[in-house]
Symmetry: C2
Subunit: 434 residues, 2 copies
C-alpha cells in the first residue's frame, strides 16, 4: 500500500496537530530560496521541499520529466504536463517523506532538499494567463440581489440555469503578504449630482476559493463535465478585493472593472484534488430547475468541505474573526463551472485561475464580504479592540484561512493575508519608465 | 533630415499606390519563415523584413538590444524595452530602406533580411497577458441602449463620465485567417419558458480597433493622461466575435462572458503611433458633462482618422461591404482609456490588448455590428449574391480593413479576416489530453 493511502501515515518531519501540511497534503508552490533562486516546491509541516533538488537526485527519473522543470518562477510548465505527472510527483514525495523511508537517515541529501519555511519566501505559484471569477454561492447572489435590486426577486432569471461568471484581471493577482493600496476611482451615490474622484471609501474583501486549471483539450473543443476534474490541478484561497462605491457606479452594463482589478490576493500553496479526496461532499440539489444536460453529471461529491474563516486585525491589534463559512455551500460545483466555461470552445490553459465568487453561508456570521456582514455599512460590527468596521480601514490586515478536517486528518491551505495600505498620493505628472 | 520625416520618401522596395505598407509605416509583427523559425518582423510593400537578420548584421548595434530579442514567437520582449527602443528600430529600418540607401545594392544582405510576404505566415504578434474591451463609441452604446433598454435614455448614467470597459479572455485572441467555429451555449428569448442548448443562432462581428500597450510604470502607480501615449505601442484591427443570443441571456449582472470569449481576431501588423502621427484628429467635444480632471488633457488630436470597412463573403461568392466607418468617431480617446484603466493602480504590462469597443458612426451604413445594421435581425440586408443576412451564416468570411490617407500618404493596417465554420459536433464524452 502506498504510504499516502493511509491517512495516518506520519512523515519523519515534525508536523503539529494544527498544521495544514501533513504528509497527506503535498501541495505545490514556488519558493525563493535564501540564495535568490526560485524553485518549485512542496511543503510538509514547516519544511519546504525543493522539487528541483529531488529531480537532480534522480527521484523523478521514472517520470522522465524535462530538464530544469522545477527551476522556474511559476508552476505552469509542470502543470502543463497533465494529471498523471502531478500524481506521480505527489506519490513519490509521499513515499520519500513517510516515516522510515530511506531518505530519513540521509542527512546529506536532505540538506539539499529541505528548507526551513521561515528561510524561504513562498511566492505567487502560477503565472495566471486568464482569470475568471464565478458567482456561484446562492446565498451571496441572493444577499447582493436583495440589497441592490429586489428582495422578492433577488436572483436574476439566469442564475439557477448557469454558473454566472466573468473575466477578471490577471496582472494584479498577487501573492499573500503583498500589501494592497486603497484604490482611487470615481464614485457616485444615487443622491449625488455628479461623480466625484478620490480614494474608495468602501474597500471590501471577498472570501473565495479558486481552482487552478491544467491545459484543456487541444484545439477548440469543450471539456465534458464528466472529465472536468482531470483538468483541475488544485485549489487556493482567494481574496477578491473590491471597492464597493466604485463598483456600484461603474458596473452597468458590462460588469465590475476598476472596482476589482486593483488587487486579487491568493494563497501560495496549491492543494491538489487528490489531497482533498477524503473531504468531498454533495453540492446542494439542483432540481428546480434542473440544469441543462451539459451541466449535469458532475461527480458524486462534487463539492469540498473546507472550513473557512476571515479575520480583520487593525494595526497593532489582535485579529477578530468576522466570518466563518464553508466551501461546501457553493451551488455550482467546480466541474460545472469548467464545463460551462469551455462549452463554447473557449481555450483553457495550464495556470488559469477560476474563482468561486464570494462564499457566503446561510446566516450573517457566515457571509463572505463586509458588504453582506454590515449590510452595505448599515450595521457596523465591532472588533475586539473596541473599534467599529463597516468596511476595511487603512492598515487593517485581512486574513483568510481554510482547512479540511475529518477522522483526525487535517489538510489545509494555510492562509492568504494582506494589509490595506492608505491610497498612494495621486500625482498626475508622475514619471514613467520611458 | 531623416527619410521618414518626409511623407514622400520612397523605399527602394516596390510599394503600390494601394499598399498599406509604404516606407512611412514600418509596422511590427511576427512571421513564421519558410524554415519554420519564428522571428519578429516589419513589412514594406509585399516584403517582410526580418528584424533578427538586421540585428545579426549589426544594424541595431547603437541600441544595444539584448541578444536574440527578435527570435521570438511574440513581440512582448521588444515592446517591454519601451518607446525609445521602438522608435530607434523604426527609424533605422526607415533609413535602411529609403531609396538610395547603401543597403539597396547589397544583394547578399538583402537575401538574409527580406522574405516575400507570400512565403511567410504573419502570426499573432503578441502574447496578450490581459485583454480589456472598452465601449467607447457613443453611437454604438446609444444603439444598443435603444434596442435593449430605453430609446429615451439609451446611455446609462455613467457612460458620459467614464470610459466603460470590461475584461475579456486572452486565450482566445487569434490571428487573422484562423477560422472561428459557431459556439454552443445557452439561449433564452424573453418568451421562452426555459433556456435551450445548442449552437448560437446569432453570431455577429464587432468592428473594433485595439491598442497594444507597453509596460506601465513600475509598481502600483497610475499612468497620468498626459503621458498615456508613451505606453501605447501601436494599433491593430480587431473583430470581437459575439453570440448575441448567448449574450442576452447570460450578461446580467456581471457582463458578457461565453458570448464573447470563443474568439477575438486581430490583424497581424501593429502600426505604431509614430506612423499614425499625420492622421491624428480631434475627438468629439466632452462638455456636457466635462469629465473629471484625471480624464482631461488628453493630447490635442487624441483620435486617429482611420477609414474602416467590413465585408461579408459567402463561401464561393465575392465580398459585400456592409459597413463603412471611421475610428475618429470614438467618444473616449485611447489616452483617456489607459489613464482610466490604471487610475486604481491596475498594473499594465507590455502586450496587453485594449479594444475600443464597436466602432459605429452616425448612420446605418456606418454601424459596426450586424446587431445594429439589421436592428437585431428585424431588417435583414442583402448581399451581392442575392442572399440575405440578419447575422453571420456558416462559411461566411468576415473581413475588416482599415487605412489612413492624407496628402497622398496611405498608412494602413492590412486586414483581419476569419471564416465562421459550422459548430463542432458537441460530444460529451470526447477524450482529453490526460
Amino acid at each position: 500500500m502506498h504510504p499516502l493511502s493511509d491517512p495516518k501515515t506520519p512523515s519523519f518531519l515534525p508536523v503539529s496537530e494544527h498544521s495544514d501540511f501533513p504528509l497527506q497534503n503535498i501541495p505545490f508552490g514556488v519558493i525563493e530560496r535564501p540564495d535568490g533562486i526560485y524553485v518549485c516546491a512542496s511543503r510538509i509541516g514547516d519544511v519546504a521541499i525543493d522539487l528541483n533538488a529531488l529531480q537532480q537526485l534522480g527521484y523523478f527519473d521514472e517520470l522522465e520529466l524535462p530538464e530544469g522543470l522545477f527551476v522556474q518562477e511559476a508552476l505552469n510548465e509542470f502543470i502543463s504536463l497533465g494529471r498523471p505527472v502531478w500524481r506521480g510527483v505527489r506519490q513519490i514525495i509521499g513515499a520519500l517523506y513517510a516515516q522510515g523511508s530511506k531518505l530519513e537517515g540521509n542527512g546529506k541529501q536532505r540538506e539539499e532538499i529541505e528548507w526551513p519555511i521561515d528561510q524561504v519566501e513562498a511566492v505567487l505559484p502560477v503565472l495566471v494567463g486568464d482569470y475568471t471569477d464565478f458567482y456561484a454561492s446562492r446565498e451571496h447572489a441572493t444577499n447582493v440581489g436583495s440589497m441592490f435590486r429586489d428582495p422578492d426577486n433577488a436572483l436574476l432569471p439566469n442564475w439557477l440555469h448557469l454558473p454566472v461568471g466573468y473575466h477578471g484581471r490577471s496582472s494584479t493577482i498577487i501573492e499573500s503578504g503583498m500589501p494592497v493600496h486603497r484604490p482611487h476611482g470615481q464614485r457616485k451615490g444615487p443622491q449625488d449630482p455628479a461623480p466625484v474622484f478620490g480614494p474608495s471609501l468602501k474597500v471590501d474583501f471577498e472570501l473565495e476559493m479558486a481552482f487552478i486549471t491544467g491545459d484543456g483539450p487541444v484545439g477548440y473543443s469543450s471539456i465534458p463535465i464528466a472529465r472536468a476534474e482531470e483538468h483541475i490541478f488544485g485549489l487556493v484561497l482567494l481574496n477578491d478585493w473590491s471597492a464597493r462605491d466604485i463598483q456600484q457606479w461603474e458596473y452597468v452594463p458590462l460588469g465590475p472593472f476598476l472596482a476589482k482589478n486593483f488587487a486579487t490576493s491568493i494563497s501560495p500553496w496549491i492543494v491538489t484534488l487528490d489531497a482533498l479526496a477524503p473531504f468531498r461532499t454533495e453540492r446542494p440539489a439542483q432540481e428546480d430547475p434542473s440544469p441543462l444536460p451539459y451541466l449535469q453529471q458532475d461527480p458524486a461529491g462534487a463539492n469540498v468541505d473546507v472550513h473557512l474563516e476571515v479575520s480583520i486585525a487593525p494595526e497593532g491589534h489582535p485579529e477578530t474573526v468576522v466570518c466563518v463559512s464553508n466551501f461546501k455551500h457553493m451551488y455550482w460545483s467546480m466541474a460545472q463551472q469548467l464545463a460551462h466555461h469551455s462549452i463554447n470552445g473557449c481555450l483553457i490553459n495550464a495556470g488559469d485561475c477560476m474563482g468561486s465568487g464570494t462564499i457566503s453561508g446561510p446566516d450573517k456570521g457566515s457571509f463572505g464580504s463586509m458588504l453582506e456582514i454590515t449590510w452595505n455599512g448599515k450595521e457596523p460590527i465591532s472588533l475586539s479592540d473596541g473599534s467599529e468596521r463597516s468596511f476595511i480601514e487603512d492598515n487593517d490586515t485581512v486574513t483568510m484561512r481554510g482547512y479540511c478536517k475529518k477522522d483526525g486528518l487535517r489538510i489545509g491551505f494555510g492562509e492568504v493575508s494582506a494589509t490595506l495600505k492608505p491610497a498612494l498620493p495621486w500625482n498626475p505628472s508622475s514619471t514613467s519608465k520611458n
